[in-house]
Assembly symmetry: D2
Homo-oligomer: 281 residues x 4
């Protein structure tokens, strides 16, 4: 127990930033902003989103190519084609790409096309996958399971670290509860606890927690104020036509408002929203 | 359904401030700060706390005289004696006093000694009590039950309003969940939803949600950032010697730090921490 | 802690039966069956139900006169009139009557008309009410709160016992959880734990747990098999026209089938369904 | 939605038995009993357990070779060696072997050594694994996730069926909740609902739900009474020395008592405990 790699130690407290790309890291005074569609749909969609992100100095793009879906008959993502489209955004716009990997077999392919590999909530305790991701040289975004305790989340991270990959970023995205008004309950107290227990950066996904557009800005502000190191949100040029999670994606106009609304809170927390990568680009 | 008194209407959206004392209200651009001990213990305790509060411009004092306790053998509060001590703070220091009422039989006595009557989580659906509180002329602080849906909370408020008392303030204080790290899970998404659904002010109790001192400041900042109209927290001159909830009370020194730490977030949200009452006093 | 009245002791293990009426008790080899409508609606309704119960040797009738309702605008029960109708069933058919008491002010009235006073889930920690019920000489049916731990339930019972009333029967009726298929989750593991921890009888309410008619018989069998001392279910001559909880009440024909289906399980558990009271009547 | 393979249809209601071995199936009038250690530890352990099982006519042996563990530093199972030991029980004693598969890479190996492949709770929505298991010709025991809705469980099964493997058995093993007295809450209402919604057999794992030995027999009886098609429990020659889950395993003596205690309930439900396989062996 005493030698858990994920735990903060007395002689080295605080968050250790995780390097994500040559010019970007998570866990320092910058707030790491990641935005993009639930699922990659087309080149036009990614182009439009990327242009909007860059206008706001946001250089990290999320988007699902392999999509975990409750039903086998739902759209499962563009898969390799989706990865190629994401990769185009890296090459043409120097975007940092974050996308989900659902199986060991997909790791090489995803790692070749993305900067950060995401482990989704449903796979938080897919230990074989975690071990395999512990052997690659890309940062991992590890999402908390729907009913995972904070300790289980830290042990899941330990699976990755213990195999050699120290670049793990944790993500709180809501836990399952009883109230139908929101899809999940965002556990910001959990974020505060994690920030004290581990040196790993912790970011927040308000989109999946809320499951509804109207409170995403409020939850984003709260996440920044509680001390989160970043935010990952869903945006879409035309949310109503999104192939998945249509109710929770912000439009591109919403995104501009969102950036404006979170700015004062970030500033009050001493966090910069302007990434160096953007200044260079 | 359409005529629920608690719901916001199209032609009158936004929060309606609730008048708490001649010079103070909740739900406007001031952030309503309430602090004090879990249980009233002595005059010296209240004096010491009150002096600290006043130094920071805080004029609302909470403190339990009738205490709901899981065990019948636990300290049940100083009862009438506790009310008298709270009342002394009103008379000598012009404090606004908030304290819990647990039964219809206590209403007259509590109303004679306090400015705001609190309904605790365990009594959120004590409908006989709610109806009786609907007939008095004091504001009611209604805490959400441990497993109450937001809709049930609004219906509980409706019981009070429908009897004629429109001065109800809602309070989110954490819902019961599975993770032992925190006593409860603070549902800030619920606060965001409530702010959209009702014109009633909504405040947050981070102390009972956390059940641990170390994350109360973080949760307080998050609550302000999500749009809460106020905060109610537990403080104690000597938390370790508190007769109840010793793990979650802030010391008076902690409280000073807390006021300093929440200030930038309040400012970023356009909320004032300086109450008019204080300026006058 | 060691002197909790509700706990089983080494030198006196097992369940202590609670005397309910001169000829009936709960917690012995008889299975205590209680059935009746959610709300008392009319004399005709009670007569029809009582005739059906008596045909099956069931002599305990439940029915709400004071009804706790989420909304203040929902039917609140026939109140005193409802109690009088229940009382008629005692006088004319020697029925044992179980009905809810929601407030201290109602205790005398309810106690004058009923044999067993029920404390509903929402009032499980209405401590003032519990203390008052500890001073009367009628058995109390104490329902577990929606999110109450087993320990909190036992402490709630302790409030009653510590005031002198030792005739408390506990009731598991489902806890709040996340799955929308059933209204609540019936915690039969909790029943098994309670049977080991306390000498108080424990019964089960499958109707409120299920919230749907189709699985009530299955849950009733499971409750008997897990060791419950009784069952309390909702029946109605015309469930579709029930003024409340229409989806979960069994029809009178359903009730006959139910009695037939649970009989083999009761027998396998060594429990009799034939009450002595019936044999006499 | 209308063409979900897992759903019961009007013209073909009821449970379709799943053939597990030439002489054994699950979902018919026999109750399928599966018992064995949490983790395979040694040949001696398996021999001792198998002898006990056979004395009671139980021919299905569970045992973990690949063990999903919260911590990467906990014993991860004997892996291939464990599979070989299980296989010896098939060859020498004609046992039906059930064991967990945690990753696609393990499928061939596990399928070569076992009769039924188990998907654990943590992998219920490991969709890549489910799809791969849909392509093999062995029955799958699919455990419900800790916070999975019944509908999500049915969709997970659909992933397997839609790839061609129709032999899926569902398993309820407790959902995560708030009460520390039991490890999880066994959702027997969920079993009752599943029996109505799907033609797939449904079994119950009381060991993981309880997390404590003393209530496993009670929960087993309840599971049979609610209509479960089988039970899977943990037993160990020396539970205190078990390498994992020591608190919930029954001893071999306990197992004999258990068989005796559940028999009357099985009989009352018209279920046989005597498997044909045993009679032949």
């Amino acid at each position: 127990m005493t030698n858990r790699l994920v735990l903060q130690t007395m002689d080295d407290p605080g968050t250790h930033p995780v390097q994500i790309s040559p010019r970007q890291s998570c866990g320092d005074s910058n707030l790491w902003i990641v935005a993009g569609p639930c699922a990659v749909e087309s080149l036009a969609q990614l182009e439009q989103i990327t242009q909007t992100l860059l206008q706001h100095g946001v250089t990290s793009l999320r988007g699902g190519a392999f999509k975990p879906r409750t039903s086998p008959y739902s759209f499962q993502g563009l898969e390799e084609k989706g990865l190629q489209l994401l990769h185009q955004m890296r090459q043409q716009h120097y975007m940092t790409v974050i996308t989900e990997v659902m199986a060991i077999e997909q790791i090489d392919l995803v790692a070749a096309h993305a900067d950060v590999l995401q482990v989704g909530s449903r796979n938080m305790q897919n230990f074989a996958l975690l071990k395999a991701l512990g052997k690659i040289e890309k940062p991992i975004l590890l999402k908390r399971g729907l009913a995972a305790t904070l300790d289980e989340l830290l042990w899941a991270a330990e699976y990755i670290l213990s195999e050699g990959n120290e670049r793990v970023i944790l993500c709180e995205r809501g836990i399952r509860s009883f109230d139908p008004e929101t899809r999940n309950v965002l556990d910001l107290g959990g974020v505060a606890v994690l920030k004290r227990q581990t040196h790993l950066p912790v970011i927040v996904d308000p989109s999946h927690a809320a499951g509804r557009r109207d409170i995403i800005t409020d939850l984003s502000k709260a996440a920044i104020a509680v001390g989160a190191d970043g935010l990952i949100i869903e945006i879409h040029p035309n949310p109503q036509k999104s192939v998945s999670d249509a109710n929770q994606a912000l439009s591109l106009e919403d995104f501009s408002d969102w950036m404006e609304e979170i700015a004062p809170i970030a500033q009050a927390m001493g966090r910069s929203l302007q990434s160096e990568a953007h200044l260079v680009a």
